[in-house]
């Protein structure tokens, strides 16, 4: 990729990214929001985390290449759920996840 191509891609992506990151915050900041909007904002975290997890773990046709390659991350996720529940620690969850997944793919 040349500098010219790089600059076009980088500047365009950086601008759309900055708008997405900043515009909604400034549009809503400092206003007293209707109760319904406040409540909706409160539902963003569980919905967003669930969406991110599903995006990483679920793909249509994921079992086409056999059961295990797709099941290994799911099994590792169960280990993470247990550790997360008990420890509430992001660090331990990440260590558990990577270790469990690495061990499971060795099988």
């Amino acid at each position: 990729m040349s500098w010219g191509d790089f600059l076009i891609v980088f500047v365009s992506c950086a601008i759309t990214m900055l708008i997405c990151r900043v515009a909604p915050l400034f549009a809503l900041k400092g206003r007293s929001l209707p109760e319904g909007v406040e409540r909706a904002l409160g539902y963003i975290p569980p919905a967003a985390f669930a969406a991110l997890v599903a995006n990483d773990l679920l793909t249509p046709g994921m079992f086409d290449a056999g059961l295990w390659p797709a099941a290994a991350p799911l099994v590792a996720s169960l280990a993470v759920v247990l550790v997360a529940w008990k420890s509430k620690s992001l660090l331990w969850s990440a260590v558990t996840g990577v270790t469990a997944y690495a061990l499971l793919t060795l099988i």
Partner: protein
Amino acid sequence: MPTRSHIKEAFHAAVPIMLGYVAIGIPCGILCDSIGLGPLQVLIMSVLFYSGAGQFMIPNMWLAGAPIASIIASVSLVNTRQMLYAASFAPRCAAVSKRLSFLFAASVTDESYGVNTARFEEGGWSVDRALWVNIFSNSSWTISNVVGVLVGSAVGIPLSIASFAMTSIFICLLVTQKISIENVVAAVVAMVGVFLCKLAGLTGPAILAGAIAGVVAAMLANRALRAKGGDCA
């Protein structure tokens, strides 16, 4: 304003993100090296664009021969989920200066959104601390990416395993959410929504569309529950 103790607290909060970013930042830098990007380009991109998904997509699509317009459109679409994070932080920034709000908002990622949201909900958190979490996370991301470019393909880290650190962080953040009927509805509908989007071939907007579906479903569940409560009373 940001005292030493705030920075220290922010660093503690940021450590899991920083380690995760080392794990995915180095492979990302290696990938960028493979399409001929240099350390300076990767540095600029990591500091100012700062998007894990985006920085993986650009070299991947370039390698696949995608036209530039299609790369820009796909990356931008994937990053629209940031709008939800920005909206959810708006009330936290109500009494904060424009400059601090801007710097904080401009440096939010999936992971730092999660960590800062959890801290805000626990209480005793502030936007300046949250900004420092973003700064530490970005430093780790940037350094790891540049290291990745410099070592090139000399080291082979299986990316699927390294990136599972991030998946694990999201799982932990999901599991530690307050358990209420509305939250469970939000999570389940969001997951189904993401899967259905992917099934329909809409991989780009899957996260945003799934999350919005989850929020809408939770609102409906809340309305139904309150209607029921009203009948009883």
